[in-house]
């Protein structure tokens, strides 16, 4: 009970203290939008064919003739009401575009994170437990190499091997092949929606499309995760309290799992937040390589055709997700480590 209230208090406090950063993000994107080449009024016009008067009206409506602070207030108001402007390319409001594409990006990112964690943590632990052994050298080699391969290159090479050479993987375009009908929309996560609909054929199709991009992205973050796990586990294994645990004759399992691993996971948790941020960035590259219909490829297409409202919306969305992720990591850390006080 008290633990719960402490956690809640901490979460509230953390959220409050992330508000300034969030505000900074809003101001930053506002400035970004005003520095952007072109006329902001054009983003909000109905389309590229909008006439001069229409743009002029919108200019007035948006208050672009007003002083900058007032514009900032209006901008904040717009964000508050969910008005992110309209995309020139799709002709849809940016908010609804982002909403329909976000699940694809999140499904990819989460699967990749899951793959990375279940690979990296055991690898790091094994390397630390057998320091200096063959497995340790292999893990360290993977770590050194893993951070050097650019995502877009590893993605393309995976396509070459598994699609072109071996033919295991389906055509690397999109979330499902054209022969599979999409499941009824519930969560937007295809794997979940197919499972809910009981369409296992479809589930397999979606999963096989997901495997390559998810592995590409996971490959990119396995190295830092394994590296930090190994280092944290080594620190934990060499610590005074572990020596105490051994001096008391605790079982090997208890010593390694309850005493060493639990302590070692704290830094891994911290780094997982940073890793998630890197993955949000890497999404842009992976979605492009695999023609994945997520928010990043949407923003990228818009960017390359000088359509800036989606870009701004995308940047805002990414920043908010990241703030949310950090908040989660922080709260989890607070639960896992009693030393972190509410302050």
């Amino acid at each position: 009970m008290s633990q719960l209230s402490i956690t809640a208090k901490r979460a509230g406090w953390r959220f409050a203290s992330s508000l300034p950063a969030l505000f900074g993000v809003l101001v930053f994107t506002f400035l970004l939008m005003r520095v952007l080449p072109g006329d902001p009024a054009v983003f909000f016009a109905s389309g590229p064919t909008a006439g001069k008067e229409e743009i002029e009206t919108i200019r007035k409506q948006m208050g672009l003739d007003k002083p900058v602070p007032e514009q900032l207030l209006r901008y904040l108001g717009d964000i508050g009401t969910g008005n992110l402007g309209r995309s020139l390319t799709t002709g849809q409001p940016v908010l609804s575009d982002l909403k329909s594409r976000l699940p694809a990006s999140l499904e990819l990112t989460f699967s990749a994170l899951l793959i990375a964690l279940v690979t990296a943590v055991p690898l790091g632990v094994a390397a630390a437990l057998k320091q200096g052994s063959g497995i340790d050298h292999i893990v360290r080699f993977i770590c050194a190499l893993g951070v050097c391969v650019p995502t877009f290159v590893s993605g393309l090479l995976l396509i070459y091997v598994f699609y072109y050479l071996l033919g295991f993987a389906p055509d690397p375009t999109g979330r499902v092949d054209i022969f599979t009908s999409p499941p009824p929309l519930v969560t937007g996560f295809l794997l979940i929606d197919f499972a809910l609909a009981g369409d296992w054929e479809g589930w397999r199709a979606a999963a096989s499309q997901l495997v390559l991009p998810a592995f590409t992205m996971a490959l990119f973050v396995v190295a830092p995760l394994a590296r930090i796990t190994r280092a944290a586990m080594l620190a934990s294994l060499g610590s005074d309290f572990l020596r105490t645990a051994r001096s008391l004759g605790l079982s090997r399992r208890k010593v390694i799992v309850t005493y060493a691993l639990r302590n070692a996971l704290l830094p891994v948790l911290t780094i997982a937040g940073i890793v998630f941020s890197t993955m949000l960035g890497a999404n842009v590259l992976v979605e492009k390589v695999f023609s994945w219909p997520g928010v990043a490829s949407y923003a990228l297409d818009a960017l390359l055709s000088s359509d800036y409202a989606p870009v701004q919306g995308f940047v805002l969305l990414m920043a908010s997700i990241f703030v949310l992720v950090n908040l989660t990591v922080d709260v989890l850390y607070g639960i896992a480590d009693p030393r972190v006080s509410v302050e």
């Binding site: 005074d240 090997r252 208890k254 009693p338």
Partner: protein, 575 residues
């Protein structure tokens, strides 16, 4: 006070023979331990033989690098990966455990042999409640349920006299003081009633008063439960008070063993002699500390010309207050003074504000209130930020506690000593600077061939000498010594103290000696100020204060000091 009827106190080699005959609990024979390091193999323990009878308390005494802790870790086979037993046997209850499998060791650890460590907070798992950790210790050897484990943990917390044991059961180590953590560690170690308890420097780093209560507790518990104990310590006073027999180790070998009373009153081996002499006692003087070095100390009594009437005191501290952000008052209304050439001791436990005061006097930090007068001139109001330009900067110098931490890792010894000369006296590179640096180094007892070395290439004592040479380079009038020997071995401490005393006499330096070690302060200082929680509790002539303290706190501090040759193994009454 022998607790075991079979125990016959004797001295020298005979002890081992006696113990072997009466089938000891633990018998170590010709133990060698090797460490493989980057620069080759190092033999840390070289042929140690010793024995412990059931119920006996054996002290292993030695300075850093003597191999005493390595011996302890070898007994429990908890050496780190680089170390291994290369030769010899360790027989516990007649069985050789030096080659036991890890499974056998697991059943031995905690149940038959357990350990308590230095740095108690680090020895506990930071993210597990102490109740669970104690329960873990029990459940490793006894098939009991979690709730039984909890109940037993509670009993153990009561046994180690922790206040509010019910509440503490769910506390985490960071919520407890160092002394409390050590009690929890003791509770874990005795949880399964082992026959042998190995205590590795169990009170190092704790305050003197805590040190005493913790050691009294350990002594009482082991006595009550008939447990044997090996007490590993660098502190002869501790060994003399709590052990029935002590062995002295030097560079991996046992040089002497006997009952502490014999050992410390009539040491046989030259090393033991040096060690005993170097340990400050209630009556020793600076000259006693190192007999060979005695010639360095002038036999004449300190001669100080009476200051002309009207000459202000060298340093006057008036109603000094230091508050930190967040409302913590570290120093509260502290006043004292130092005359030219006088030495004043500042004594207190951790958190007493003694380091803060020394930094305010050195004008490294600003006081919140109060005044500091140097030579009758107010220097407290000059911001610390600008004090480097003050004419008094060269007059007030400081020697820091940790010799390693006080030297810039990128400066060699020469540059460290030359630094104040360059900055404060504006000396340029040349023969004058070189000459002055060599002179200071020589006065601080630092061989000139070491001047080219970087700090990490120097030993602790040598680093301390560099720090002292730097501090006296500009011929200051007041030298602040902030626990200058706390990080050093006693034999090194002895020579450093002699050095400081000699410098003081030769140069008429005034000293502000900050320390937690009352024996040292008594020898070094004419007057003493006792601090508690940032306030002055008592101040006066050292001679009076140490023989007849006026306040309860000063008396408590003095009582907690362990003296060589004091009552041996005086067991406190069971509570």
């Amino acid at each position: 006070m022998p607790r075991n009827d079979e125990e016959v106190p004797s001295s020298g080699r005979e002890t081992m023979v006696t113990a072997t005959a009466s089938e000891p609990l633990l018998a170590i024979d010709d133990l060698h331990v090797r460490f493989s390091t980057r620069s080759g193999t190092v033999e840390a323990v070289r042929g140690v033989s010793l024995s412990v009878a059931a119920g006996e308390t054996l002290g292993i005494v030695g300075e850093s690098g003597s191999g005493k802790s390595v011996t302890a870790f070898a007994i429990t086979r908890l050496l780190d990966a680089a170390g291994r037993i290369s030769q010899g046997s360790i027989r516990f209850k007649g069985q050789d455990i030096s080659k036991a499998s890890s499974k056998q060791l697991r059943s031995l650890h905690g149940a038959a042999i357990s350990m308590i460590f230095q740095n108690p907070r680090g020895a506990l798992n930071p993210i597990r409640s102490v109740g669970r950790q104690i329960a873990d210790a029990i459940m490793a050897h006894e098939p009991i349920s979690a709730s039984e484990g909890r109940a037993r943990a509670l009993d153990l917390l009561k046994a180690v006299l922790i206040r509010d044991p019910e509440k503490r059961l769910d506390a985490y180590p960071h919520e407890l003081s160092g002394g409390m953590c050590q009690r929890v560690m003791i509770a874990m170690a005795i949880a399964c009633e082992p026959a042998l308890l190995i205590a590795d420097e169990p009170t190092t780093g704790l305050d003197v008063t805590t040190q005493k209560t913790v050691m009294d507790l350990v002594a009482r518990i082991t006595a009550e439960r008939g447990m044997a104990m090996i007490l590993i310590t660098h502190d002869l006073g501790l060994a003399s008070r709590y052990c029935q027999r002590a062995v002295v180790m030097e560079r991996g070998q046992v040089v002497e063993q006997a009952a502490p009373a014999t050992l410390f009153s009539a040491p046989q081996h030259p090393y033991t002699k040096r060690l005993v002499a170097a340990s400050p006692t209630a009556t020793s003087t600076i000259a006693d500390l190192a007999p060979e070095g005695a010639s360095a100390v002038p036999a004449v009594e300190l001669f100080r010309p009476k200051p002309a009437p009207g000459t202000p005191l060298l340093l006057e501290v008036q109603k000094l207050v230091k508050r930190y952000d967040g409302g913590v008052t570290a120093v509260d209304d502290v006043s004292f003074s130092i005359a030219a050439g006088e030495s004043l001791g500042l004594v207190g436990e951790s958190g007493s504000g003694k380091s803060t005061i020394s930094r305010m006097i050195c004008r490294l930090i600003d006081p919140s209130e109060g005044e500091i007068l140097f030579d009758g001139r107010a220097i407290g109001s000059l911001p610390a930020r600008d004090f480097h330009r003050s004419e008094f900067r060269r007059d007030i110098q400081i020697v820091f506690q940790d010799p390693t931490d006080s030297l810039n890792p990128r400066f060699n010894a020469f540059d460290c000593i030359a630094h104040p000369l360059r900055r404060l006296l504006g000396m340029k590179n040349g023969s004058a600077l070189t000459g002055r640096v060599s002179e200071c180094a020589e006065r601080a007892g630092l061989p000139s061939e070491l001047l080219e070395r970087l700090p990490h290439q120097l030993s602790g004592g040598q680093k301390a000498r560099v720090g002292i040479a730097r501090a006296i380079a500009c011929r200051p009038r007041l030298l602040v010594l902030d626990e200058p020997t706390a990080a050093l071995d006693v034999s090194v401490q002895a020579v450093i103290l002699q050095l400081l005393d000699r410098l003081r006499r030769e140069d008429g330096l005034a000293l502000l000696f900050v320390s937690h070690d009352l024996n040292v302060v008594r020898m070094m200082c004419e007057r003493t100020v006792v601090l508690q929680n940032g306030r002055v509790v008592e101040q006066g002539e050292s001679r009076t204060l140490f023989s007849a303290p006026a306040t309860a706190y000063a008396r408590e501090l003095l009582d907690a000091v362990l003296h060589l040759g004091g009552p041996t193994a005086r067991m406190p009454e069971p509570a």
